[in-house]
């Protein structure tokens, strides 16, 4: 039986909080190498995240949305995709984007205010979408286009629990159902939309059950269990490619998880939630869970973990250096990609800015 066929209220889990395989669960068919990759990706994302927050605190980067606690959902789901598949991220999916080929220096550049960080040449990743839920119809549209072209790809759309209250959640999922698109709607339910708890977003028991209203399956998964997330996503993607008779291709996955940190570096979560709650969720931390599982399996030991830790720290240090050593984008780049061909009026505004810079060099831009 596909895990997707379970009751939406029944949460899929492979590993318990101690990293032991839960009764009746099947460990997904991943090689040791893939499992170590999964572990390393999560470690890397965690370390990157901590360094990114500290860059912001030191004034080296603008507002940044941390992801610590959510590595399992992002890495587990992104690793379940094929090269040809697409992801449609919100603004917190740095780890999923990394797994799909976007280096973290690009992510840093974006949050350092450089639009080139959102330039994703050659990758099947849509740019970061900031307005909540607005990327969900894009994923349905991608699915419609994939279908039109008779391609074999799947579009996976990420959004948070707060997004399920938006009209675009409804419209996106509804189009997905009506046009039966190869789309996986992946909800990172981290419990909080800034300061508003999940319970205040909707009166439904789960978010997964909302799928029923669109005629396709919804499934709740332990979002801090990367193996369960991988398994559920892989089945959803498989179903999107080859749906069983009389079943629709989309799936709504609700990955239940917790953000350990703030909504963004501009937010102070101590105002609205207890430290005790945070500590309780930290018991479910995906990284030690997978580590315990891999140690038990004989794939990881102290030496291997230390090696991975060192390589992760080195990679992040290089990433930060790469992001910070890039020259500021040119002033002209403000105008360059507004239209395929620059209208005359824009051209004259660009020339005006050039003249201003010649006359007031150094006064216009804070260094």
């Amino acid at each position: 039986m596909s895990v997707l066929e379970r009751d939406p209220d029944e949460r899929v889990q492979v590993l318990d909080e101690e990293g032991r395989v839960v009764d009746g669960a099947t460990v997904p068919d991943l090689s040791d190498e893939q499992l170590v990759d999964m572990y390393r990706n999560m470690k890397l994302a965690r370390h990157f995240d901590q360094r990114a927050v500290s860059l912001q605190r030191q004034g080296r980067m603008g507002t940044y949305p941390p992801l610590s606690g959510q590595e399992g959902a992002q890495v587990g789901s992104a690793m379940a995709l094929a090269e040809r598949d697409w992801i449609v991220p919100s603004y917190r999916e740095h780890a999923a984007m990394y797994v799909r080929g976007l280096d973290f220096d690009q992510t840093l550049r974006y949050w350092m205010g450089d639009e080139r960080g959102n330039s994703l040449d050659g990758l099947n990743i849509m740019p970061v979408a900031v307005p909540i839920a607005s990327q969900i119809p894009h994923a349905a549209g991608l699915g419609m286009a994939i279908d039109y072209r008779d391609d074999d790809a799947v579009a996976v759309c990420y959004f948070g629990d707060g997004a399920t209250s938006e009209g675009d959640f409804h419209e996106g999922l509804n189009f997905g159902g009506v046009f039966d698109t190869p789309t996986v709607f992946f909800c990172n339910n981290n419990g909080w939309a800034i300061s508003v708890p999940r319970e205040e977003q909707t009166a439904t028991e789960t978010l997964a059950q909302k799928a029923t209203a669109y005629g396709f399956e919804g499934i709740q998964v332990d979002g801090m269990d990367p193996l369960a997330v991988y398994q559920v996503t892989r089945e959803a993607v498989k179903k999107a490619r080859e749906p069983p008779v009389e079943e629709l291709r989309p799936t709504l996955i609700e990955a239940v998880q917790y953000r350990f940190g703030a909504h963004t570096t501009a937010d102070d979560p101590s105002v609205y939630r207890d430290e005790e709650e945070v500590e309780r969720w930290k018991q479910k931390d995906p990284i030690p869970r997978l580590e315990a599982f891999l140690r038990d399996r004989g794939v990881l030991d102290d030496e291997r973990v230390a090696e991975i830790t060192d390589s992760v720290e080195a990679e992040v240090a290089d990433t930060i250096e790469a992001a910070e050593s890039i020259e500021r984008p040119s002033a002209e780049s403000i105008f360059e990609h507004v239209y395929a061909e620059m209208p005359r009026r824009l051209e004259s505004q660009m020339q005006y800015l050039q003249r201003l810079r010649e006359q007031h060099d150094g006064e216009l831009l804070e260094e």
Binding site: S119, D121, P137, A145, E171, H337, V338, R345
Partner: protein, 327 residues
């Protein structure tokens, strides 16, 4: 020799869509009731039958979903031509238009583009219910990354629509439903384009330049004709509102030294203000009189019992021209 058909403006929309559907397999037409029903104004009549469900299809009744899925399709390389049934219902899709369609090229540094043509009938004068009569072109011209076209003749409709669909950037294509069936014109059968950003001088004159577009072009021309002998008015149909043909505006003004702008939209923050300001910037020393704006009022569009008071029509435009010339 090329053959022509005698078409109304809405028939020219349909013919333009048909030519583009034939030309490019990536073009898809969709929206509410555009499929089998052929659109509430019959702008897509017969296209569903001719091109099939994959190319011309109905969507759920959801404007944000329509524009949002168009953005996703465009990212995958398709050329979406969605219809919003009335421009008064574009607002649920407004976030998708301004936050995504308009910004996608900038945001992705050119990797992703949205070559969408978003069609919607606009404007008053058809005795319609609430929300069916507004002219809110200024919302879209205000947004960087969008283009805005408003045809006023069947010939231009087909050509501008083809240019919009072939354009690599998103175009909001506002159709003057007041004149959907008001008159016919010979329209070439073969595909052609009317370049975006290119105004048309509909009537040459030397005393005053009257700038207008869409459904206001006809009453403006009527006013100019009524004044012939007394005033020699030049009438410029802007056709594309973004990018605006500033050269045509400034050139005409330098010739006449006087300007009237006619639009259905409310006066405050309307494009008349932008045109007046540009004339000040570019041609102040040619100016003989204040720039006159003959526009809708700064009120919600009234229900139809009173809409004739709201809409500029020939007599009001004549007054505006006369006041400008006799200043």
């Amino acid at each position: 020799m090329s053959t022509t058909q005698n078409l109304t403006l809405v028939q020219a929309v349909r013919d333009g869509l048909k030519c583009e559907l034939e030309r490019d397999d990536d073009v898809v037409v969709f929206g509410e009731d555009v499929g089998e029903n052929g659109g509430v104004f019959r702008a897509t009549q017969g296209l569903h039958e001719e091109f099939g469900e994959e190319r011309v299809f109905d969507t759920p009744l959801a404007e944000s979903g329509i524009v949002g899925t168009a953005v996703g399709m465009a990212a995958y390389g398709m050329v979406p031509v969605p219809e919003i049934q009335f421009s008064g219902f574009m607002y649920p899709g407004f976030d998708q238009i301004v936050s995504h369609a308009a910004r996608m090229r900038t945001r992705s540094r050119g990797r992703f583009t949205v070559p969408m043509t978003l069609r919607a009938p606009y404007g008053g004068g058809i005795r319609a219910p609430e929300h069916h009569s507004e002219s809110k072109e200024a919302f879209y011209t205000h947004e960087a990354g969008l283009k805005v076209a408003v045809p006023s003749t069947p010939h231009d409709t087909k050509g501008l629509l083809a240019a919009a669909i072939r354009d690599p950037d998103p175009v909001v294509f506002l159709e003057p439903k007041l004149i959907y069936r008001a008159f016919r014109e010979e329209v070439p059968e073969e595909p052609y384009t009317v370049e975006l950003g290119d105004a048309a001088v509909r009537r040459e004159g030397t005393d005053v330049s009257v700038f207008t577009w869409g459904a206001m072009t006809r009453p403006t021309l009527e006013a100019a004709e009524n004044l012939a002998g007394e005033v020699d008015a030049e009438v410029v149909d802007l056709r594309t509102l973004s990018p605006m043909d500033w050269d045509a505006i400034v050139d005409s003004f330098r010739k006449t030294g006087r300007a009237v702008v006619v639009h259905e939209a409310p006066k405050t923050g309307g494009l008349g203000a932008e045109i007046a300001a540009t004339i000040q910037e570019e041609a102040l020393l040619y100016q003989e009189a204040p720039v006159k704006r003959v526009t809708g009022f700064d009120t919600p569009f009234p229900l139809y019992a009173l809409e004739d008071y709201y809409m500029p029509e020939a007599a009001r435009i004549e007054d505006g021209i006369r006041e400008t010339v006799t200043f």
